[in-house]
Amino acid sequence: MKKLLLAGAALTALTAAAHAESHASEVKLGVILGFTGPIESLTQAMAAGAELAMSEVTESGALLGGAKVTPVRADSTCVDAGAATAAAERLVTAEGVKGIMGADCSGVTGAVLTNVAVPNGMVMISPSATSPGLSEAEDNGLFFRTAPSDARQGVVMTEGLIGMGVKSVAVTYTNNDYGKGLADSFQQAFEAAGGEVTISAAHEDGKADYSAEVGALASAGGDLLVVAGYVDQGGAGIVRGSLDTGAFDRFHFPDGMIGAALEENFGSELDGSTGQVPGTDSPGAAKFAEVVGDKFDVSGPYTGESYDAAALILLAMQAAGSVEPGDYKSKVEMVANAPGEKIYPGELAKALELIAAGTDIDYVGATDVELIGPGEASGSFREIKFEGGKMTTTGYR
């Protein structure tokens, strides 16, 4: 029986390989993001970012002798690990993708990594999973992320707040890997810097009412409220409740809360509040906005990271001269990091040609990508302040 199984497996592997051979001119990349669920309003722009990189490469005709790159979307749901795993499994086995751009939320990303990517030897680059836990995940060198870990964001946030003279804060976080990881790393950093966290309370996303949470937070008090949640989820509910009851009138927002929806929904009520989001003052961001034009909204979080994630996979393929994940996984860091010629958004064709000619490149992309440690972005953050109902950039850290 066992032999039969083995033979069967070998046969499938062979046919799969043959299948791949015959389609060498077409490379499929999986785009697995939460198209439904808590962050569904962010993912359309993220997917568009990734697909922009793919179409750019296809049009250049320079990838491995003119290969065509086709995106295959799948729904990670952001919260349902089972559904995300099934979706990723489908991408790998049924669609035969050669790399995965995703997943998005930290919880499902961990699940897809352990259940699908590692067993199948599939390279995965997440644009937005920021849980510190993923740094230690067993990944056989297959997992990268173009977003920095929250451990780093906790430190940046602390530096910013202490710099503004804030001494005591209340913290609320969305009850998942992202929120908990960020709240913990922030609390650790903030207390080490001499600040006080009066309460660290979880909130569930997508719930009907946040009066209980707002009540508890108000009771604990603090100079301001740190909301480590999502802008179109519980985070917004908490902010609304706090403003309406007068519990807090100043907030600090980490990345998940920064979005156009915040300006639209609260406007000048948030004046004086602050926040930070992964971002850079490198020319990449501006070039990205230029390349995108009005195709989609680049101001949403992680659109640049998504573009970069897809671009890195394709550039690594070119560097390895192969579309097989096992071959190109070791090249990802090489194309992302210095030394080499700097590559900005919209220059993927040039990058592919340089690689083909044997020149080393340093992919900067939209978000100033530099992969450190276990294959994650070192992360620079854009600091934001609300003035006159608008988000204004106050600096980079």
Partner: protein, 336 residues
């Protein structure tokens, strides 16, 4: 003065929000309980029916706003409400005509209808997202606050503010009117009485010449009106987002079951029980106690019974206790 501050803080963070939330839950739970009582199944599509009705209201509100029609300090949505209700009625009548009626004619078991309602739920869910999208929509306008925290502080000179939103006040007032109308209808009119008779004993009701199709239709019409009303009030108080409306299903059922499925009074009491228990049990009493107690006794910690993580556990524990000791709910509904 300190006791007054304590009371104001408590009202601001517990009593007022819980009252409004309770009224919203009560309206939703009424719809669930009516369907259960008369059509004899748990309607999982209720949350999405609500989302659909509210979506219609939002669209009409935008239309009126673009025409420059408004109600001054009151939200324009009130004007759009009747139109939204009519559209929502259209939807539920269509689903009943083409989906539920088929299964009713076959006299299927209630569990089959539950599954069918889940199907309806998914389709409505998709329909709403298709039409208005998955994002948060704001449609509240007019005066946002009856009293804002800041004005209250200035008026009274207290340290604590009390905010009462227009949405919250409207919710409570409209809920009271709607419930009064519903009870008048059920107890005083011929159709209402035939609905109750049909709910109590279907066969007897049929024998005495009650037209079942009419009862079913009227039930759906009332449910659509209640759902749209609950959804709009909730949206005015918080915001409209399809995903949240879908999630509201859980507290609705908790409220309806605690009160006793099939009992309208029970649904209302259940709504308030769930709302107040969620807010009260996880409230951190530090602020209130600091005001109310002498300085030496003021608590250092948060004086919180349970962390807010357990908010939902609280409603489910209540649900569990009720089911264990009074399976028919507080007000003698049908047993589940």
């Amino acid at each position: 003065m300190d006791l007054l501050n304590a009371f104001v803080a408590l009202s601001n963070f517990v009593l007022v929000p819980a009252l409004a939330y309770g009224a919203q839950l009560a309206l939703g739970a009424l719809g669930v309980t009516l369907i259960y009582g008369i059509l004899r199944f748990s309607n999982f599509a209720h949350g999405d029916t609500m989302a659909f009705g509210t979506m219609a209201v939002v669209l009409f509100t935008w239309l009126f706003q673009s025409w420059g029609i408004n109600l001054g300090p009151l939200p324009t949505a009130l004007l759009a409400l009747p139109f939204g209700i009519v559209i929502c009625m259209g939807l539920v009548l269509l689903t009943d005509r083409y989906i539920y009626r088929f299964y009713r004619a076959q006299k299927v078991k209630p569990v089959v209808l539950v599954i069918v309602s889940m199907g309806v739920m998914f389709v409505t869910n998709g329909l709403v997202r298709f039409i208005i999208g998955p994002d948060d929509q704001r449609f509240a306008d007019g005066e946002r606050f009856l009293i804002s925290a800041r004005t209250f502080k200035e008026m009274t000179g207290l340290d604590e503010g009390l905010a009462i939103k227009t949405g919250q006040a409207l919710t409570v007032v409209i809920a009271v009117i709607a419930v009064a109308l519903l009870f008048w209808f059920l107890n005083r009119t011929r159709t209402g009485k035939s609905m109750r008779a049909y709910s109590d004993n279907e066969d007897l009701a049929l024998l005495s010449g009650i037209n079942p199709e009419k009862v079913v239709m009227v039930t759906w019409l009332i449910v659509a009106a209640l759902a749209t009303l609950a959804g709009t009030l909730y949206g005015l108080d918080k915001s409209f987002k399809p995903f949240t409306y879908f999630q509201l299903l859980l507290p609705f059922f908790a409220a309806a079951i605690v009160g006793g499925l099939g009992s309208p009074i029970g649904a209302i009491v259940g709504g308030f029980v769930i709302a107040f228990s969620e807010v009260l049990i996880t409230y951190a009493w530090k602020k209130v106690l600091t005001y109310a107690l002498p300085e030496t006794l003021a608590p250092d910690g948060l004086a919180q019974l349970l962390s807010t993580d357990y908010k939902f556990a609280v409603s489910f524990v209540i649900l569990l206790v009720v089911l264990l000791f009074r399976p028919t709910g507080l007000f003698k509904g049908k047993s589940v």
